[in-house]
Amino acid sequence: MNAAEIYKLSRLAIFWLSVTFGAVWVACWGVGVFIPSLITGKMPFLLQVDNPSTTVVFIADLLRSLTPILSLLVFIPINAMFMVLFERRSLALFTVRMGPNRHGFDGLAQTAADAVKLLFKEDITPRGADAFMFTLAPIIFFAPSIFGALPLLAAVTNNHDLFKVANLPTGIFYILAAASIPVVALVMAGWASNNKYSLVGGLRSAAQAISYEIPLVLSLVTMCLLAGTLDVVEIVEQQKGGILNWNILGGGALSGYDKLAPYWLNLVDTSFDTSAMFGQFYPVPWLSSIMAFVLVICTVLLFGLYLTGACAEINRIPFDLPEAESELVSGYNTEYSGIKFAIFFLAEFTNLFVVSSIATVMFLGGGDNPIPKWILDRLPLEPISNALGSLLSPLIKDLMFIDPATFWAAFWVIVKVYSIVFFAILVRGTLPRFRIDQLMDFGWKRLIPLALILFVVVVFARTWVVCHG
């Protein structure tokens, strides 16, 4: 193992993420909290008027409502730029190379430099291409990945007031609907390019997306069945309290054990009769425990199913047939150059970020701490946080600068999302590519039956176990 390179890569990730995360955090606070409270609260006092004028209130509201959308619009592309570098450096690590490490701090400016280079390149529209469609395709490819992520925003920030912009009761449905739009863009790009390779690439992506969206959606539907809701905020809310409550471990099938563990381990009042509580979660003693175990296996498999489907959905190796270099040159984006290509390229990473966020929210407890609550309660965290709080109190007290719950939620989301991203990179660094017919076989003959079987098993198993829903 190349310890020095691993150290450099993790240093890079920590440095960059804390810088961007901190900047976005401060900007959100400034625009969404500080300025509105300044102009509606402090200004009238200074101007010695009783109430702020309606115009001022309107401006304050506008700023508050624009903040979450702008934060997504800024954070996701910047983050995608970093993910490009992260992927290149990680792949270099897996393949005994160096990777880009010259520009900026350990190569941080590399993607920015590439983007600037692409920006200044000639924007070529091939002869015979449908220019309007050709221009529209990258836009349609890029936009849904950002707007599809809107309902996730509240879910990953602990339902903070500022970020409650799109708390739809059918959140996951909207997200999936938005996530299936980019395929249209790929077909458009393939058709409009007037290139045979692009056309084949576009058609392949359509076929692939149709086949792999089914297991993807089925796995999420099964999770919604366990959760009893389609609202992502509520799904995250249900999973709070440590790793045993997460959807990946049975969708709440283990939360009874989680609740009872402190009693069994004699950490709290031992005179409490646990059997009544146990019966509340697991009505039929032995069968329920077995079914809880079955549910855990099912949900772990569903998580794998989701990751496989997501890899196919966003065209990553081993499912990157629409842009298979060795066959189709570059597939649907063969004819693209300049900034249009850059948008395609960035959007791929944005999509990766979004599908990883969905996985985090649906399976990995969103912003939840992996350590069970009853362990966390026993750690001497309170004195530490009190000390920190008193140190930062001039900042926190009036201005709500840091809401600890939101901060930690965002922190854990980023850790989880980057773990999934790293896994996707590792897969890319290892596997060859499927052939198109094998891809279809794998999707229709393996994944979809598996998804259906899991769905049925979960429906039966959860009748004996009390899950989140």
Partner: protein, 379 residues
Amino acid sequence: MSTEIKSTELKTDEMIINMGPQHPATHGVLRMLLTLDGEFVKHAEPVIGHLHRAQEWQGQNRTWFQYQALIDRVDYLSGMFTSWAMARSCEVLDECEVPERAEYLRVMVSEMNRISSHLLWLGTYLIDLGAMFGFPFYPFREREKLLDLFEEIAGQRMMFNYIRIGGVQRAPNDAWLKRLKAFTEEFEDRVDEYEAIVTENPIFLKRTKEIGILPLSLAKQYGVTGPSIRASGTDMDLRKTKPYSVYPKLEFDVHWLDKPEGGDTWDRYILRIREMRESNKIIKQCLDMLPTEGELSGKKQNAGLRVKAGEAFSSVESPRGILGCYVISDGKDKAIRFRWRNPSFCNLSVLSELLVGSPIADIMAIFGSVDVILPDVDR
């Protein structure tokens, strides 16, 4: 306006695609004219000549000494073998004795070259299969060590000009031999490493089994040689069937598969892997048997190099197959005629039969498996 539908039949056309010469996967400048029915190949025609450099004609316009520096470029991945083929036919013509030490050195560097060529093939073949960024670089790590060794002994990493008419260019020192020994000792483990990740990989098996089946009769018809024909049921290897140099004194196996109905791309892959192991064995033996003292060349290496009048053909077993050199000399400073028999050319021409009926995705899997070097095709 008539509402009548004229034809209910769906009309589909064949699509003609020019794959290459600027295609990222055609290993250089091959152009393939493909007629596709949907995703399947109906007709394939390799169009060659984009890299024609008149190598044979150049041989007639340069002195012997100049030309031997040039011919490494014919097959740039295995320059030792092109040099050796030329040197051997000139030695036959000249009736000059090659010192034993030089012969051992020739076998040693050639087998090193065979390994480095197969390593590059392994890496690029995996890229052809879409393992774009992960594994392919590991073979390159070992190849780099070999290239460093070549650089030290020949002064060049790829265009060696090491094997000369009559002998070799220079002798290795002890440090070099030690490094080579260290390499041979660890190399076996490295091959195990490649095999662990590739050979039984389910996606790799799916992509390579049962495609590009080359029957023995077809292979013979097209003159396919090397590992590609040994996968189809013959043990034709010049090192055994027509032994030359010191190969009879060395112990090694020629791996082949008894499959006259035809070997698939996976068979050709596994034969190359086994060949690397055998080459490693040969190098080990050469290291033990190499005489420490002795002549390096049976001829003076200077600009006045001459070859006696007459004509001769001789061939060697290169990583890609039988590499032959035909030469006519009139005893003057330049040759009358050079003619090369390049394995890549024959291996490439069989593609037009192999590709028919396979989907687009398999084109590169099959093309990569016959191991073609384009400058070797076009000369």
